[in-house]
Symmetry: C2
Subunit: 112 residues, 2 copies
Amino acid sequence: MAKSLLDQHQLKAVAKLFELLAEPTRLDILQNLKKKPLSVGQIVDATNAKQSNISKQLGILHDAGLLKRERQGNLIFYSIADPMIFDLCTLVCGKLRKDAESQLALIRSLSK
Amino acid sequence: MAKSLLDQHQLKAVAKLFELLAEPTRLDILQNLKKKPLSVGQIVDATNAKQSNISKQLGILHDAGLLKRERQGNLIFYSIADPMIFDLCTLVCGKLRKDAESQLALIRSLSK
DNA sequence: ACATAATATTGCTTACTAGTAATATTGTCA
DNA sequence: TGACAATATTACTAGTAAGCAATATTATGT
């Protein structure tokens, strides 16, 4: 069997996908879209970012294929295109929680 | 049940973890360490990055708790501290493969 | 056509970081 | 101790991106 290591080009692609999730504002957008599609204005209200920034980040997520866009009259609704991202976030959140717990256990054991 | 949305602080923590995986060089280090621990020199040989950069990235991954460090004489061996990262990478690689396949299918259907 | 609302774009500043060469540190062996 | 090998650190440059204010675009209703 081959070594099955990713080459430079593939590593770059993987990194680019992680990069999309490496920004709090974009993560905030994604978690708000988890339940149902939202218009730009609704996302602006749900987060505490300016409209121009939300619009920019939505464009980035859309260009990368993570979001779908649909116009409804005056509004533009965005929705999750690939729910896989939530699996990613679940894993990461799980790790962070676990880390926090063992950190807490450590502190407790030290203060005995 | 509460909305269960992550707050600003938590989003930042999640983003920071993704950030670690958002660099090709760091991903390359991680995939090389997947099979077994390696010394810095071995990692430098396995990748095509300079020693100073590898050392820097190893430090970043270690500080973040993703890698363990162990000295053996003159050498310093690094190893994966939390195999969860591979689950993340597997998910992402799966998505990229799927995307590539459907892209290929599209091209094929167009060239009929 | 005009006024208005929603969204996108532009130009800009600021902050961050990968990569590098050079140098410092740390450990080994003779 | 001195020479050498492995790794870490430092100081720097260059590229990239978030955030913002202002402006442009696009659609709606009258």
